[in-house]
């Protein structure tokens, strides 16, 4: 097989927010020029400022900007970009996007369109995996045409069932239905979410497994027939099918099972002639049997967990593979060290049923120190737009052991300061502190089962301190106001020069001292 080798000079990142910044960082390290694209809502976004060039691609709703293939291609042509990195979400798993780029002579930093076809529609993926001998979860073989048909099928499979978007990913358009009575409402809601998130409202059904864990394997394939796995990520802490905490290694895998799942994942990737970074997601049930769930044919949100454990830069590897280079390491050269955990910082309010909280960040200070990584897409003064995903940052900790990594992440969450909008930092800390999480005995039902425990109840020991702080600040403010009135009234008072007045006002204003 002859593989075309090319060297990129300029990479357009067809995405926004933290992942666009993440990708551009590696591009910069590799000496590649970067192009950002942005909607009207994102003119002030960090990724625009971070890039060497930037092109406006339309109105705020993603269907009128980030999801429009022609606009992205036009931006490539306008800037002379010779490759596109799609990030995750948006167009990253659209085969027609990869095809359109190929037709325009622009490289797609991702798998071949045929691999995306084979894995993109989940029902097709299931069929392909069954043919390749990969175990799958019982469910509907194809997208279901009518709601009535779906209801009959759901009754047949037995509740609970999962309603999923055929074009889906990231929990959008995915609903868990517990009872037949709820089916109609959930089906329609899933359909709307799917249409809005992917422009494709086809849905299918799957049996919901008992206390399953979500364990996924990172795979990497080059154009020369090599495919390796880089270990697992445990992503069972999920809310509304959206991952919240991810860690590696998983508490339930030993070396033998890790190798078994890794080899199945490689088999899955090879069955669809995969190339680049991919993730094979499995559900592991209470008997520790594992089933293929789906393959994400893109870089995952949680890829830094693997980067911290392996020391690799997955974006660099993606770019190298897309340039036609062979993988620079063999399976037996993959070294995994220590433990990594990621927490997703969302602009949402756990106390108000996780209501999204777009708005202006009036102050931001990010954590730092040993073993901490913050992949963020925001800054002080940025207005988090209502149009996109509420995730503003991913905070990661690495340490030699799981316990130390958890403590380290907890410490870093305590240093994280976000003012102006509500974020889920306390919720994340509560998860890390929960006995079920600490023990490692948790499954995808964790967030629902322990919802009450995870709600913030402030520690009563420090309530008095909070009251003191609020009162002292209020006192200081009132005092300053009174002083400034007095200073003005004083201005022409006999016996005091203007210098004295100014000095007095200065001493009293500003700091609490």
């Amino acid at each position: 097989m002859s593989v075309e080798r090319r060297r990129f000079r300029k990479v357009l990142v067809a995405n926004r927010g933290e992942i666009a910044v993440r990708i551009m960082r590696t591009c910069r390290e590799m000496g590649l020029r970067t192009v950002a694209v942005y909607s009207d809502a994102d003119r002030g976004s960090l990724h625009v400022r971070f890039a060497d060039e930037a092109v406006r691609i339309g109105l705020p709703p993603s269907r009128e900007s980030y999801l429009v293939v022609d606009r992205i291609i036009a931006a490539c042509k306008a800037t002379g970009a010779d490759a596109v990195h799609p990030g995750y979400g948006f167009l990253s798993e659209k085969a027609e996007f990869a095809r359109a780029l190929a037709a325009a002579g622009i490289a797609f930093i991702g798998p071949p369109a045929e691999s995306m076809d084979a894995m993109g529609v989940k029902t097709t993926a299931r069929k392909n995996m069954q043919a390749a001998g990969v175990p799958t979860v019982p469910g509907s073989a194809a997208p279901i045409g009518s709601e009535a048909e779906a209801r009959t099928l759901a009754d047949g499979i037995g509740y609970p069932v999962m309603i999923k978007a055929a074009a889906g990913g990231g929990g959008k358009g995915m609903k868990r239905c517990e009872r037949g009575e709820d089916f109609e409402a959930l089906w329609q809601s899933a359909r709307r979410e799917a249409a809005s998130a992917f422009g494709d409202d086809r849905l299918y059904l799957e049996k919901f497994l008992d206390r399953p864990r979500h364990v996924e394997i990172q795979v990497f394939a080059d154009a020369h027939g090599h495919c390796i796995y880089l270990g697992e990520r445990e992503c069972s802490v999920q809310r509304r099918q959206q991952k919240v905490i991810e860690e590696s290694p998983s508490c339930i895998l030993d070396d033998a099972r890790r190798a078994a799942m890794g080899e199945v994942a490689v088999k899955a990737a090879q069955a669809v002639h995969y190339r680049g970074a991919g993730t094979v997601e499995f559900l592991v049930d209470s008997q520790r049997s594992f089933y293929f769930l789906e393959m994400n044919t893109r870089l995952q949100v949680e890829h830094p967990v693997t980067e911290l454990c392996t020391g690799l830069d997955l974006v660099r590897m993606q770019i190298e593979v897309a340039q036609g280079e062979p993988l620079h390491l063999r399976q037996d050269e993959v070294v995994r060290r220590g433990h990594a955990i990621e927490a997703r910082v969302y602009a949402e309010d756990p106390a108000r049923n996780f209501m999204p909280c777009p708005g202006r960040i009036s102050y931001l200070r990010v954590p730092n120190g040993p073993g901490i990584r913050d992949d963020s897409g925001v800054y002080t003064g940025w207005v988090v737009p209502q149009f996109y995903d509420p995730m503003i940052s991913k905070l990661l900790a690495w340490a030699p052991t799981r316990e130390q990594a958890i403590e380290r992440l907890k410490r870093a969450l305590g240093e994280y300061t976000v003012h102006g909008i509500t974020v889920n930092l306390t919720y994340l800390t509560k998860i890390l502190d929960h006995p079920a999480f600490r023990s490692g005995e948790y499954d995808t039902g964790f967030c629902t089962q322990f919802a009450k425990d995870l709600l913030a109840r402030p520690d009563p020991r420090y309530e008095d301190v909070a009251l003191i702080a609020a009162a002292v600040v209020a006192f200081k403010r009132d005092h300053d106001e009174a002083e400034s009135f007095a200073a003005r009234a004083d201005r022409h008072a006999p016996g005091r020069s203007r210098w004295q007045s100014l000095g007095r006002a200065r001493t009293l204003r500003g700091s609490l001292r």
Binding site: M355, Y363, A469, A470, V472, R513
Partner: protein, 170 residues
């Protein structure tokens, strides 16, 4: 000396705090029947180093008007801080209640994707009235009380600003 009242638990609980200035940044503060010597030092925006007797606290205050979120050692205390004058005004304006007409406003900017009830419908407490989509997630807004839907100001597909008045239940 100045007296402040903090409203906690969404206004269901009150605590009184008395503050006396002792010197620059030095205060005597009485709260919960105890008197503390407090040394306050403001660092950057919203961050205060507080020495309460000898204990050292790094306190974050995210303040908007009289409402504040105070962060201390991993806990967040949402509260409202009022001086005596503001408290009197507040009391005159009436207490928090679900009696009578309840207005429903948009908790965030977004788009109305579904309207689940129409004017004149008898609603149960917690029954869905409409669904708003923001940040790609759907959120159902529910009736705060049992009653009749007397006002509905939006239609499906309409974009709304945060705080926009959507509906009323009586």
């Amino acid at each position: 000396m100045s007296t402040y009242v903090a409203l906690l638990d969404g206004g269901r609980r009150e605590e009184t705090i008395r503050v006396t200035l002792q010197g620059p940044g030095l205060y005597e503060v009485e709260v919960g029947g105890k008197v503390h010597r407090v040394d306050a030092f403001r660092h950057d925006y919203g961050t205060i180093s507080l020495l309460v007797d000898t204990e050292s606290y790094s306190v974050q205050i995210d303040q908007g008007g009289t409402e504040a979120k105070v962060h201390i050692r991993g806990s967040t205390y949402p509260l409202e801080i009022l001086d005596e004058r503001r408290l009197r005004m507040r009391r005159a304006a009436g207490k928090f209640t679900v009696e009578g007409r309840q207005n429903l406003s948009a908790p965030m900017p977004g788009k109305v994707v579904k309207v689940l009830a129409k004017v004149g419908d008898e609603l149960e407490e917690g029954q869905g009235i409409l669904v708003i989509e923001a940040m790609k997630m759907e959120n159902e807004l529910k009736s705060p009380k049992a009653g009749k839907l007397v006002e509905l100001n939006v239609v499906e597909g309409q974009a709304v600003e945060g705080g926009a008045r959507l509906a009323a239940v009586e």
